[in-house]
Amino acid sequence: MLERINRAYTQIARAQKVLGRTVNIMEVCGTHTVSIFRAGLRTTFPEGLKLLSGPGCPVCITDQGYIDAVLSLADRDDCLIATYGDMIRVPGRKGSLEQKTNKGNIKIILSAEDVLKLAKQNPAKKILFVAVGFETTAPATAVLANEAFRQGVKNLFIFSNHKLVVPAMEALLSEKNHRIDAFLCPGHVSVIIGSDAYKPVVERFEKPCVVAGFEPMQIIDAISEICRQLADRKPEVASLYRAAVTAAGNKTAQKIINETFDVSNGWWRGLGKIKKSTLKLKKKFSHLDAEKQLGIEFIPEEDLTGCCCGEVLCGLMDPPDCGLFATNCTPETPVGPCMVSSEGACAAWFKYTLKKGKVDGGRR
């Protein structure tokens, strides 16, 4: 183990020397963000390495307009809202889903399959599925849509806001003031899309893309590999999560995604509109499409005043630099989504670096 840590230190120093400054690596997965903090990696790495928490948490990147559109249905007696638990505390302009739970029409589900059961158990209600998440959850929504189609279910409506990871990475690198040298690529998204999906990022932007699982040692090895590539000036795609990730990914999952959704332009919190980044139901599934059937409208909105989640998600700012961090915005009373989700960058910084009200555990 020590040998692997020493190797990482050597490669970080080499990369730092070649770049002539601090090496900035962005992780694009909330589970990586939490693993890195939990293992204390931020404080053990040398000064010359900075880890940025990018748009890797589906809750955090969901535009406020989407939350508001879901909330607009929460007061209707004829609707049940089915959502993954992560979403219920995210504040919109008119409160959060959590504040509406007293009416009993917000249902937390663990699997898209539960939504179908809910629709059958409540034939008099319209069931709205809050379909968020990256390529990991999108195939489950696709299976749900196809099952509902096949069984002729009439009271199930999908509000799809599934996001694609690669277009967001490309959007970040297209910004003039970005400070990203390489990506630590998500483990479970890569199980679906395959490590080859990052090839366009490497070819177009010449940035290393390395997939890792969630064990701390594997993350250390990935950082070592990224720094080796930077030092050698040979960016490429590599995967250290070979047990689960193949180059081509899960073809069955990709096929059902392609058969169910069209890729469209979409809004991301903090990143704005990103071309070809969001999955919307195909015409065949119009009768299941919440936007077409329930009269809800998704109007992108300005983010809440003072909240810097956008800058945090783009890697331009660390959470403690936001004026609201740990003052007005805490996990108990979150203002922005990065503080809501346990995998959000702000919540992770709050949990793992704050002691007696001062930031002292995490390296800025």
């Binding site: 909330g30 479970h188 199980v191 059902i256 949990k351």
Partner: protein, 80 residues
């Protein structure tokens, strides 16, 4: 949200499976891994098996889960 756990398939009927993750029984759909067999270890995310894993990899995660569980029961826990 992209957390996933490895579990061994102990019952399989069509694309509906019951899987075992260190003693916990989990319902899972196997629609996305059509070639899966009884006894295989799969990675389960939000109720769906997303890939088949080898035994060694699964054991590492199970050990990690067991360690976390033991750790949370001790008084060494300082935060969270």
């Amino acid at each position: 949200m992209c957390l996933a756990v490895p579990a061994r398939i102990v019952e399989l009927k069509g694309d509906e499976a019951i899987a075992d993750c260190i003693g916990n029984r989990i319902e899972a759909k196997t629609t996305l891994v059509p070639k899966v067999k009884l006894g295989d270890i799969v990675l389960i995310h939000a109720g769906f098996a997303i890939t088949v894993l080898d035994e060694e990899e699964a054991k590492k995660t199970w050990q990690l889960l067991a360690d976390l569980d033991n750790f949370s029961k001790t008084d060494k826990r300082v935060s969270g």
